[in-house]
C-alpha cells in the first residue's frame, strides 16, 4: 500500500495524514507555543458549543491499567468567545484547523457553524454527534441515523467548508449513521469517538469518574477502530477519518490501509505533545522502505 501523504478531504488539504484529535490539543495554542506542531497535518479543536460550558464535575479523568477514561463534558468558552478570543490568535496557524462542534439540538449545531463562518481562520467542522459524556445530545444523536442526517444537512446548508461527522461506536449501527451523514452532505466521517467505559473501586463501590461512565481510549482499542473504519469505508463513498487507538506510525498505517484518508491521534498527544513529529518521521521512514 502506498498511502497518500498529503491527503485532501472535501475542500481541505492537509500537510500530513496525522491530525490532532479533538479534546486532546485544546484550541492549539499550547501546542503551538511548545513548537510541537511538526508532523501534524491538521488539528481538531476542543468541542465548541453555542453557550459556554463548565464541563462535568471532577474527577473527570481516571486511568485504568491499560487506558484512560475521560468525562470532560464539552467544557468550552462558547462560540462567541471562540470567535472573539481564540480564533484570532490562530491566524497563520501552521496547519489547517477544524473546529469540533457540539450541541443539544440539530439547530444548535447549525447555529454554531453559522456563527463560526464569520471567521476565516479555520478550514472546516467536525460535528460531534458522539460525545459519551453529556446528558443530552452527544452520542444519543449519533445512534439515530435520521438525526445524524438532519444535523448534517442543516450544518451543510450553512457552510461550504470541510464537514466531517464524528460517529459513535457505542450503539446503533455505525454503518447506517455513516450513510446518513453522507446523505446529509458530509464531506467525511470521523470513525470514531471514545468507547463508553467505567472504573469502579470494588472495595467502596464508587465510580472513579463523577458521572459514573466516561469515554475510554487506549492503544489496545486499535483493532476495534480498524474494524469500524474498514466497514464504514466500504459502505460510504466519502473519505473516512480514523480516530482511536493510533499510538504509533504502524497503527496510523494500519488504519489507512483499512480505508482511512487521515488518522487522528488523541490520547497519545496528551502524554507526549511532541508525538506527531515522531510518528510522522517514522511513518515516512516506513513507507519509503
Amino acid at each position: 500500500m502506498k498511502p497518500e501523504l498529503l491527503p485532501v478531504i472535501g475542500p481541505a488539504r492537509f500537510r500530513s495524514p496525522i491530525l490532532l484529535a479533538s479534546g486532546t490539543c485544546g484550541y492549539g495554542l499550547e501546542i503551538l507555543e511548545a513548537g510541537a506542531l511538526e508532523g501534524a497535518g491538521g488539528l481538531v479543536t476542543k468541542a465548541t458549543t453555542l453557550e459556554p460550558r463548565e464541563g462535568n464535575r471532577p474527577p473527570r479523568i481516571a486511568e485504568t491499567e491499560y487506558g484512560l477514561l475521560n468525562s470532560i463534558g464539552l467544557a468550552n468558552p462558547g462560540v462567541e468567545a471562540v470567535i472573539e478570543k481564540v480564533l484570532p490568535r490562530l491566524e497563520g496557524f501552521p496547519c489547517p484547523v477544524i473546529v469540533n462542534v457540539a450541541g443539544d439540538t440539530a439547530g444548535e449545531f447549525a447555529e454554531v457553524v453559522s456563527r463560526l463562518e464569520s471567521s476565516g481562520v479555520h478550514c472546516g467542522y467536525e460535528l460531534n454527534v458522539s460525545c459519551p459524556n453529556v446528558e443530552n445530545g452527544g452520542m444519543a444523536f449519533g445512534v439515530l441515523p435520521r438525526l445524524v442526517e438532519e444535523i448534517t444537512r442543516l450544518a451543510r446548508s450553512r457552510t461550504a467548508r470541510l464537514l466531517s461527522v464524528k460517529l459513535t461506536p457505542n450503539g446503533g449501527d455505525i454503518l447506517e449513521a455513516a450513510a446518513a451523514a453522507e446523505a446529509g452532505g458530509a464531506d467525511a466521517v470521523t470513525v470514531c469517538n471514545t468507547f463508553l467505559g467505567m472504573k469502579i473501586d470494588w472495595r467502596t463501590g464508587t465510580a472513579a469518574l463523577s458521572r459514573g461512565t466516561g469515554g475510554y481510549s487506549s492503544p489496545a482499542l486499535l483493532p476495534l477502530v480498524v474494524a469500524r473504519v474498514w466497514q464504514v469505508s466500504r459502505r460510504v463513498g466519502i473519505p473516512v477519518i480514523a480516530s482511536g487507538g493510533a499510538w504509533t506510525a504502524e497503527a496510523v498505517l494500519e488504519l489507512m490501509s483499512a480505508g482511512a484518508r487521515a488518522v487522528q491521534v488523541g490520547t497519545r498527544v496528551l502524554r507526549d505533545p511532541f508525538a506527531p513529529a515522531r510518528i510522522h518521521a517514522k511513518l515516512l521512514e516506513l513507507v519509503s522502505e
Binding site: T24, C25, E30, P58, I61, E65, A75, P273
Partner: protein
C-alpha cells in the same frame, strides 16, 4: 515546556515508601521555578498510559540537575522508585504557575508529601518560617533547621496536626502564607487563618492530570466564582481565595 530524556543520577529511599530522585536535565533545571511541576514517564512502554506529575523539589541550575521527592502509592511511583543511576526517563516541563516569590516574610505550611516542593521555594525566598506536619517523624521527608514540627503520633515535634502549630506564629506577620498538603489539611489551615490573612494565602493543589499542559480539561478544580480552573495551567499554585473550598475533593484515587 520541553520534553527531554533525563538521565537518572541517583535514587534513594529517604523515609517509609519515600524516595528522592535526582535527574540530569539541564534545560529543564534552568527553566524551573519553585512550585512548578514535571510530568514524568513512569515507563517507556504504553502502560501506564499517563505521565505522573511531581513538584520540583529542588533545581540546581549550575549542575543541571533536578530533585524530586515522592511517595510510592501505586504502579507509576513504584516504577520510578526502581530506577537506578544511568537509566533515563522522559521529563516534560517545567509546567504550571509556581509560587509568586517575593522579598517579604513567608510562612510555609506543609503536610506530608505536600512539603516536597518547599526546599526549592525556601531556597528562593527571603525571611521565612516553616511549619511541617506528618503522620510520624520518619514521614517528614524534609526537616530544615528552625522548622516547627507536628506529628500525629508525637514522634517528632508537637503531637497533633500541623494546624495546632498555627498558635505558635503570628499570621499577620507574613507577606504570604504558602500551604501545601492533603486537601483536608489545606482546608483546615485556610479556615483557621483570620479572614484578613486569607487574602495573602496561597495553596498548591493536586488533581488527577492527563496532559499536565493545559489542553485536556481533566484537572479541573472548582473556582470560587463558580466553574472550574485547570490545576495544571492555572495552578497548581492558587490564591486560596480563587478556589471553592466546599467543592474541592481529594484528587488522589
Amino acid at each position: 515546556m520541553t520534553d527531554c530524556d533525563a538521565s537518572v543520577k541517583a535514587v534513594e529511599q529517604v523515609g517509609p515508601g519515600i524516595f528522592r530522585i535526582v535527574l540530569l536535565a539541564p534545560g529543564t533545571a534552568r527553566e524551573s521555578l519553585p512550585g512548578q511541576f514535571l510530568m514524568i514517564e513512569a515507563s517507556p512502554g504504553p502502560f501506564p498510559l499517563l505521565r505522573r506529575p511531581f513538584t520540583v523539589s529542588s533545581a540546581d541550575r549550575a549542575g543541571g540537575t533536578l530533585e524530586l521527592l515522592f511517595r510510592v502509592t501505586g504502579g507509576g511511583t513504584g516504577a520510578l522508585s526502581r530506577l537506578s543511576r544511568g537509566d533515563s526517563v522522559r521529563v516534560l516541563g517545567p509546567l504550571g504557575r509556581g509560587w509568586p516569590v517575593s522579598d517579604g516574610r513567608w510562612l510555609l505550611v506543609g503536610g506530608g508529601m505536600g512539603a516536597a516542593g518547599f526546599p526549592f521555594l525556601a531556597s528562593r525566598l527571603g525571611p521565612h518560617d516553616i511549619l511541617l506536619g506528618a503522620g510520624n517523624a520518619a514521614s517528614l521527608a524534609w526537616t530544615p533547621p528552625g522548622a516547627l514540627l507536628a506529628t500525629e503520633d508525637g514522634s517528632a515535634g508537637t503531637k497533633g496536626l500541623v494546624t495546632c502549630l498555627l498558635d505558635r506564629i503570628d499570621p499577620f506577620s507574613y507577606e504570604r502564607i504558602a500551604v501545601c498538603g492533603p486537601v483536608a489539611m489545606m482546608r483546615a489551615v485556610v479556615a483557621a487563618l483570620p479572614p484578613g490573612v486569607r487574602a495573602s494565602t496561597l495553596v498548591s493543589l493536586e488533581s488527577r492530570m492527563a496532559c499536565g499542559w493545559g489542553v485536556c480539561g481533566g484537572c479541573a478544580v472548582p473556582a470560587s466564582g463558580g466553574g472550574f480552573l485547570r490545576c495544571c495551567a492555572d495552578g497548581p499554585v492558587f490564591e486560596a481565595s480563587e478556589l471553592d473550598w466546599d467543592r474541592i475533593e481529594e484528587a488522589a484515587p
